[in-house]
């Protein structure tokens, strides 16, 4: 299922004129078969879509495959996109629905394939402070913490995990999440609260007392 990342050639960037167009104009062009316009849309949202799928699956290969499928599915469904919501929200819905379906099928086959932490993680004061010498796991490094965190995330239900990934990791607002998940803001808040409570209990060893 997974695609080799390194074997693929690097694609040239989109023509400069396309980068100045807004999403609506690019969608119009893509609908008429302009693949360069769609390429620009992919470049705009690939990082956010990938990140959401990665935080949902805790697996790079799965996130990569799901992201590709989501963009391809979105292209084939462009005709049904009427502009009632933003392209970004619509695309997110496609990606999230695919991820949820995928995770339901993968229920009993969970393995972590985590990306390496970047250099900034080691210098993030909040994260350094979290690895406190007062905790029983003071020997835990960031890599172990990352693994524990992702394992805890995987214990949440798909909808709870999604809300945490979109809000606490990616920084989307409650309103944006409600549009993506097609539910009201109150439901988003409630899911977020219960998901955090569950995570807090699962990661209590790593959380310093306030």
């Amino acid at each position: 299922m997974s695609t080799s990342v390194l074997e693929q050639p690097t694609a040239p960037p989109a023509p400069p004129v396309l980068t100045t167009l807004d999403d609506r104009a690019l969608v119009r062009r893509a609908k008429s078969g302009d693949l360069a316009a769609y390429d620009e849309l992919v470049r705009r949202y690939q990082e956010r879509i990938y990140a959401t799928l990665y935080h949902m699956t805790a697996n790079h290969e799965d996130a990569n495959d799901l992201a590709q499928e989501a963009f391809i599915k979105a292209y084939h469904s462009l005709r049904s996109f009427k502009g009632d919501s933003t392209f970004f929200t619509w695309l997110y819905r496609i990606a999230v629905n695919r991820a949820i379906n995928f995770l339901k099928q993968r229920k009993h086959k969970t393995h972590l394939s985590l990306n390496d932490l970047d250099f900034n993680a080691e210098h993030d004061p909040d994260l350094v402070a979290l690895i406190s010498d007062k905790t029983p796991r003071r020997e835990a490094g960031l890599a172990e913490l990352q693994e524990k965190l992702n394992a805890a995330m995987l214990q949440l239900s798909e909808t709870h995990r999604l809300v945490v990934a979109l809000h606490d990791v990616q920084g989307l607002s409650h309103e944006e999440i409600s549009r993506i998940m097609d539910c009201n803001v109150g439901t988003v808040r409630s899911r977020l609260f219960y998901a955090r409570q569950q995570l807090q209990s699962l990661l209590s060893d790593y959380l310093k007392s306030a």
Binding site: P9, A11, H60, L149, Y206
Partner: protein
């Protein structure tokens, strides 16, 4: 380790760790290229089927949808008009009661009356009116059910003895 259930500050800081998990270097430089390459190998945008085009047309801007609606309403009205004309042909007396109908309709109704007055072929048994013995083969037309000819209502006086 105790922590208020409503205070998620520490948890949110821990979750921030996930922002430091980027994919392999250069991943996003190739990602879009792979998506587009796959779309090109599939032949780009698939041409829609006839019903997809029809559905899109119905869901397209309101002006077009309204024009579709107008055509449908027009067809329904035309059908209703034709139906009324056919009813007039069958019963010309309706023409008198509906003077607003066009002349063509009336002339068609008159033609229908002429057709109705063409003498019938002689019946096999012309001896008498239809009866329970010969209910079908009678020469004369059966009396109209609700306005029998020759029958007039007369006041009846009754005086008890």
């Amino acid at each position: 380790m105790s922590q208020s259930p409503d205070n998620f500050d520490a948890l949110q800081k821990l979750l921030a760790l996930k922002r430091h998990e980027p994919p392999p270097p250069g991943y996003f430089n190739r990602f879009a290229g792979r998506v587009i390459a796959q779309l090109e190998s599939e032949g780009g945008m698939q041409s829609p089927t006839w019903w997809q085009r029809w559905w899109e047309a119905l869901n397209s801007p309101p002006v077009l949808a309204l024009s579709y609606g107008a055509v449908i309403v027009g067809l329904v009205m035309l059908g209703t008009g034709l139906l009324q004309t056919l009813e007039l042909e069958a019963d010309p007396s309706l023409a008198a009661s509906q003077p607003w109908l066009p002349r063509e309709s009336l002339s068609m109704a008159a033609a229908a009356t002429v057709v109705a007055e063409v003498p019938r072929p002689p019946a096999i048994d012309s001896a008498g009116p239809a009866s329970s013995f010969s209910p079908v083969l009678g020469n004369s037309a059966p009396p109209f059910l609700f306005n029998p000819n020759g029958l007039t209502a007369q006041r009846v006086s009754y005086q008890p003895r």
